[in-house]
């Protein structure tokens, strides 16, 4: 890694009533790379993700994005500092159209949301950009459909478009292919490959095929700590990684 890290974590820890879900994690995400966080269930991936996006406050440790300290900031402040996230469980506004979602996301850096005395038709000024983003994720034909009526794969695509609408420096994707059929997984991988251009992506993912085809760098977590870090080709044969996964499989089945 020669490029400077855009997102760093130092000694990041989160304790829930004595249980350390994330336990002293150091992380450097290089600018312009796709960085995957993997690990067995309960390794602390989602907790780490929530710490990085401000949804949880760390017990100790520091987070910086682009050199700016974001430790302890609210989710909305983190979002404004250029870190956009998607959710593991699809998280949308069921009655709002796909286009409505994107208009809202595009309006968020502006003070338009406070204008309670103006007509909501003003949001139509983001219409063109919203349709462009929908087209990018293959939802151009579903712009007017309420999000609640979209098929699962399309909801995930809308999630991605929402994150992109914030034009983030760092895009954090929480299991973007969770619960998808093979066809949707391939489509999503192609989509992420397409949108990663010029962006930094941090990705929590279970599907090793997805990780191998997307990630430049992989961090393997276990028991809230970093087990191994390196390019996918290196870590896949690491005996510690194999035993971590097999050990988990034994517990799960």
């Amino acid at each position: 890694m020669t490029t400077a890290p855009i997102l760093t974590a130092r000694g990041l820890a989160k304790e829930f009533r004595g249980f350390r879900a994330v336990d002293g994690v150091d992380l450097d995400v290089a600018e312009g790379k796709v960085h995957a966080l993997v690990g067995p269930n309960g390794a602390g991936k989602t907790t780490l993700f929530n710490l990085l996006t401000g949804f949880l406050k760390p017990t100790t440790g520091r987070i910086t994005v682009g050199g700016r300290d974001l430790t302890g900031k609210n989710p909305e402040q983190v979002a404004r500092h250029g870190v956009a996230r998607s959710f593991q469980i699809t998280s949308l506004f069921p009655q709002m159209s796909a286009r409505g979602h994107l208009e809202l996301a595009l309006a968020s850096p502006t003070p338009l949301g406070w204008r309670f005395w103006r007509s909501d038709r003003l949001l139509a000024r983001y219409r063109d950009r919203a349709l462009e983003l929908l087209d990018q994720v293959g939802l151009a034909d579903h712009a007017e459909m309420p999000a609640g009526n979209l098929a699962y794969g399309r909801k995930r695509a809308l999630e991605l478009a929402l994150a992109l609408a914030l034009d983030p420096k760092v895009l954090l994707l929480d299991e973007p292919t969770a619960g998808m059929g093979l066809e949707d997984v391939d489509r999503t991988v192609r989509l992420i490959q397409q949108v990663r251009e010029g962006r930094t992506v941090v990705l929590v993912e279970h599907n090793m095929k997805v990780v191998s085809s997307l990630a430049d760098q992989v961090t393997v977590l276990q028991h809230g700590q970093v087990l191994v870090e390196g390019p996918y080709a290196e870590i896949r044969h690491d005996p510690r990684v194999i035993s971590a996964y097999l050990g988990d499989a034994d517990v799960a089945h």
């Binding site: 979002a79 959710f87 998280s91 949301g113 007509s119 003003l122």
Partner: protein, 341 residues
Amino acid sequence: MILRLLAGSARGRLLLAIGLFLALALPWMIYPPIAMDIACWALFAVSVDLLLGFTGLLSFGHAAFWGSSAYVSGLLAVHVGLPFPVAVLGGALFAAVIAVPIGYLAVRLSGIYFAMVTLAFAQMIYFIANQWRDVTGGENGLQGIPREMFGVDLSDSFVFYYVGLPIVLLGLLLAWRIVRSPFGRVLVSIRDNPSRARALGYPVDRYRLLSFVLSAFLAGLAGGLFAISHGFASLQEVYWTTSGNAVMMVVLGGIGTLWGGVIGAALVVQLNDYLSTSEFDGIGIVTGSIFIVIVLVFRKGIWGTARDLLAPRLKRKRPGGAKSPGDDPAPAPAPDVNAPA
């Protein structure tokens, strides 16, 4: 849907015309002071719906704003001699100002906790109104509030209705504007999914606070006008049952429908008036039973159910068209306390 219609379609203009006609004809159909009561309660209920139906927060302490504005409007009219619309505006601004600290502390919570905190603050206001006799008159209430404007005597209830009605209509217009604004769009998204709204960069608590303050302002307009209309402000105005009444009107009319509150108010005020003149002293049992039946039979309230019956015909006009936020009375997390899901 109705809101969209009001924005310009023929059916919307028709409904608006019917509504305005009814508002203007009301004192001919029923006893004028009751007509004024309906108008005030309608605005109060709409202010509660702005929070409950469009922000997802159940306030159980809105009597604090209705009642404190009633006292402040009355005091301004009695001691300063302000024309009544100015006194009412002063009362509403006072309600909005006290809503800032109350809301600041309450919006961090949601569901039943939000309801309890707002109730607790309303009880504090009640306590102050009860204890501060020199100003509020204590249990006797604040009496002798003049009903005049620039020296013109408005003691005739029929005349006063038409002078007071514009305040209510302006309040309703403001509520409608808020719901159909970019701000209203953000509120509905916060109601449906606060985490997602946060992840998009919207400071959820501050949006909730502004909604709370605007709602308190509207409740204050209604309460101030109510006090002027009656010529006195009593402890009843800050009592918790007043908050409960407003919530009941919203649930009856339909949560998240805005105009449902108007229907709920008309129904409850009329019913209370009818029952109180009928020498029957179990009013609570009758209104309670009607409340239960309506909630069980029409889960979306009267207006919400009527709108759903109209909806299929309208949907055909816009095939594949998305419903806009705020068009559907989706029950927010908070109202589950009242309405069975």
